[in-house]
Subunit: 172 residues, 4 copies
């Protein structure tokens, strides 16, 4: 963690490319294929990833794993990492787990998430891992769950999500 006796201003610069979902590729590729390709190239990686400092680790059918390093710039007013850090990681892992269960031509949108914060996260926690898994996949609704663990495997937060599945319009 940064030296808190040094009270001077800190700065950080993050870099991103304009988000550009490739709807044609989404009609052709399975969710897993689409996600692997999108995260492999920094030019198609979503801007939120560099904002928060999170990276995709694995996409498999119905499963998505992200990692991140909690840092001082994520802090809330009460001296720990803001809950929004965990909520963003969990939301990503659950949405991508559902996406990774989608067939070509299927899109989705997250309807709701529910997050439980179990242990405080600080800049001393080390790299956290967030694993999302699809629980159920119907014709219109999918549900998923995710957990964040620290390097010792201790549970830091867990969540569930509900997604709406939306068929992409097929080209004529």
């Amino acid at each position: 963690m940064s030296d808190v006796s040094d009270r001077s201003a800190r700065t950080r610069t993050h870099t991103w490319y304009p988000a550009a979902p490739d709807w044609e590729a989404m009609k052709r590729l399975s969710g897993v294929e689409y996600l692997r390709r999108a995260f492999a190239d920094e030019r198609t990686r979503p801007p939120i990833a560099s904002l928060l400092g999170m990276r995709a680790v694995a996409f498999e059918p119905g499963r998505a794993v992200f990692e991140a390093e909690p840092a001082e710039f994520h802090y809330n007013p009460i001296g720990t990492v803001h809950g929004g850090f965990a909520a963003t990681l969990l939301d990503s892992a659950m949405a991508c787990a559902v996406h990774a269960a989608c067939k070509p031509g299927q899109a989705y949108t997250t309807v709701e998430i529910k997050v439980n914060y179990v242990r405080p996260i600080t800049a001393d926690t080390g790299t956290v891992t967030c694993e999302g898994r699809t629980i159920s996949l119907g014709s219109r609704i999918a549900t998923a769950e995710a957990r964040i663990t620290d390097p010792q495997g201790r549970l830091l937060a867990h969540a569930t999500a509900t997604c709406l599945l939306i068929p992409l319009e097929r080209p004529g």
Copy 2:
């Protein structure tokens, strides 16, 4: 919104001061007084505020209001602002609404949040307002709700939260 035909890399620099909760002040001040003071000075404002680009608008007993401008750097892989942006705003507004209901010497921690995403948020949405309100305040548990609206007053997302109230140790 930025010109999406320009596909070059973008950068942004954010600035913060090390988070420094003032536990002695928390024992002496009501939650409203503490929050107003903490957010008035950029040196005590939480780092997450500059990371996401959100600012406090009002703190009253049991009520907290934040504002933010959704931007391209908040985007997810499917071309809209990531759900974590709304979740972070809502979490802040609900936690601060509970804090703003606390008496001197009372601290809190957020146990869980539940967020419903109602309308997509984009870089064209304009300034969004997030208002949190305490629903119930018991001796150990408090609950709160929050809503995000766009400049036309349309509902974009809503949430509830459960907080655990923790008495701060009194000095001897």
Copy 3:
């Protein structure tokens, strides 16, 4: 409350008519009209109402109100009314609030509910009122909230729900 010094077995008999949703009427009537008619006649009232001892008080566009008397037969193993009593009332009020916002030909199904238990409910609480209101109504998703209060107006429990809207097939 019943005399707990009397430890003998109690019995209660509830009466219902087979549930019979009238899909043709649902295509013709607004949600409010359908609900008012269904609850007005004991032969079309849902069986769950007599099982739990709850009754409909009001249906207006986007709003539904139920009442019930918590009793010993609702008790859990720790000496208060089981959370399922409140969950059932809240689920009913939210689902019916969404139904009461539906146009003719629109059906719905509840996707998820989230319930906060604020104060214990006992057989001494008296008649509780559960009011549900629609928060948002999109083309496919609706959200609602509900609160249970005691005769003194104190909040006992609150909830939110997400419903999926489903168009009924139109007759040829």
Copy 4:
């Protein structure tokens, strides 16, 4: 399922004994021991069990399993088992899973539950099984999850819960 062409009134009588939590036993016994004893005897079984027609199948440390037969008397106005049936089973399984993780002298109360309804439940579903498991057990907060499955093992509903742990006063 009952013959729906027969539209006459049905009745059912349920029997219970007054709920009587044994606080002295709770100080002496682990949660598992307390629950096994309470559910083994119809005189200490909670009234909600006979109201809904559910029974305890197993209690192990941090785990609780219930069973029930969905029936016509559980029906909602739209021709399926009311969501309150699943919510009550899930709430029971999660609360008892947390109780079954408690040491002697520890009590708990459920703060909130979140339920996802995955497949409709009807009187034709057959016996459903509801298994709850503790996810995290802190000093003040515990979380749990539960799932309901049909006889073919298909997921019907799933849930999470947050409980507050409360130390029982020790006798002098």
